[in-house]
Amino acid sequence: MQRIINDPDNVVDDAVKGYRRASPDLYAATEHPRVLKFSGETVDKVGVVTGGGSGHEPAFLGYIGEGLCDAVAIGEVFSSPTADAFLEAFRAANRGQGVACLYGNYAGDNMNVKLARQMAEMEGIDVQTVVARDDVASAPADQRDKRRGVAGEIIMWKVGGAAAARGESLDEVIRLAQKAVDACSSIGVGLSSCTIPANGKPNFSIDPGMMELGIGHHGEPGIEVAPLTDADAMASAMCGPILADRTFENGSEVAVLLSGLGATPVMELNLLYSHVADRLDAEGIKVHRTYIGNYFTSLDMMGASLTVVKLDDELKALLDAPCRSLAMTQ
């Protein structure tokens, strides 16, 4: 295993230490070692919280900042944070106007958030949730409830965070965050497996010369294992299920988030985007804004995830609002 670590069992705590030392202008400690909060000026507003397993960097800690999340709970690699950690994040983000917990649809996160919400309620903190379900490959359209949350979570944080920064109420932040993630369709393609440091060996395998379309952010099975194609065909294969997932009228405006999964060079992401743009052009879809880079990864997996966000004026205004964080500044 060719990795930059100390004790493989301590990678998460060691990494948190690094984040704090590197960016004291962004990160402050809380009562829980696996929870960080924004170190900047605290303003009176609805708190925005997310959380999830480690290994998806810069998610989740990278989205703490202005116009984004106020506090974030992280777990072991690919494993949900504890209920205690989510609770501490709720406390850290709460300014008396309630907390919007915006997270992804995974069994462990669902359970730990549910427990933490019950505990927060006893402390008088009002926590409302939005659960991202944007991965079109994880379940068919008539079973959206079963879909996993992937990179669309970032759009949900951006829109929810901007709404909170604008001074919206908790109900309104929740409505807008829900609207944002409902407007997202995402799909991944995996070209290699990934290795959890504490395990020391790849989690699964993708044979050389093959690719897995629809792969999840932890290597959950995709919809098709097929011979590796060129970028043009790969872009088409990824756009297909996304364009089939909802109606895009001629002239529809979208935002496109194309994230690497950890090991794919950024040059190749831009190369891939060029073909995605061709495909969207051909459908008469207008791209309002792009995010291309390593926004939501899966350790050292080779591959990419594509998220297309269908916009209206309300979402556009919130997506375009300024923000400042490690992973996203505009």
Binding site: P81, A83, D84, A107, G108, M111, N112, L115, N199, P221
Partner: protein, 217 residues
């Protein structure tokens, strides 16, 4: 009539902790076949911390189980912390005001745990998880009690039900958890959560049976 003195909490918990610590490597090996191989490590971490917290204290079963529940929820993330945490919390709440636990109260304790767990997870029998051990084991216990069998006989039914439930996971295709990645290939391997659940229920039955007292009817 036979009963368990509810002041034995620390001793019974020590035995539950012991069985998890003894099987740390085995549980991780089972998990490694189709999961991410950390089940034994995570469970041992949570149970060891609970052992340290209750050491030297004479706790009631309610207090000891509550401590285990909050330790698991606070120290193990992922799915196992909340699943086992709610299970033991539900059990703890069912014996809150009890000085003695007879066969019916023991059944209520198990059902209390099961209800709490179902409140947090939608997992069903057949999904290849700890529910596959828990549900048939508790059903077998309740059936024995309804049939008028003795407390020890019902505990034996609990153990047999748990073992059969654990073994049933071998032929199942995982529908939840990381093993669902493997689909068809998850068949032929036991589920690690079902194995740890069987170890815990078996130990709980043995620890209870060895401490049963008899009251004049």
């Amino acid at each position: 009539m036979q009963f368990l003195n509810a002041s034995n909490g620390t001793e019974i918990l020590d035995e539950l902790i012991g069985v998890i610590l003894e099987n740390r490597t085995y549980l991780s090996e089972v998990d490694g076949a189709i999961g991410d191989g950390d089940h034994g490590i995570n469970m041992a971490k949570g149970f060891r911390l609970c052992g340290e917290a209750i050491e030297g204290k004479q706790l009631s079963l309610h207090k000891a189980l509550s401590n285990l529940a909050t330790t698991l929820m606070g120290s193990i993330g992922g799915s196992m912390g909340p699943l086992y945490g709610s299970f033991f919390l539900g059990m703890a709440n069912a014996v809150k005001d009890k000085d003695t636990i007879d066969a019916k109260a023991f059944g209520d304790m198990l059902s209390g745990g099961q209800t709490a767990l179902q409140g947090i997870s939608d997992a069903q029998v057949g999904d290849k998880c700890l529910i596959d051990t828990l549900t048939p084991a508790i059903a077998a216990y309740q059936k024995a009690i309804e049939a008028g069998e003795s407390f020890p006989a019902a505990l034996q039914a609990l153990k047999t039900g748990a073992q059969q439930g654990r073994d049933s996971t071998k032929d199942l295709e995982a529908r939840i958890g990381r093993a669902s990645r493997l689909g068809e290939r998850s068949k032929g391997h036991l589920d690690a959560g079902a194995v740890s659940c069987c170890l815990l229920l078996t130990q709980l039955a043995d620890s209870t049976e060895s401490r049963l007292e008899t009251a004049a009817a």
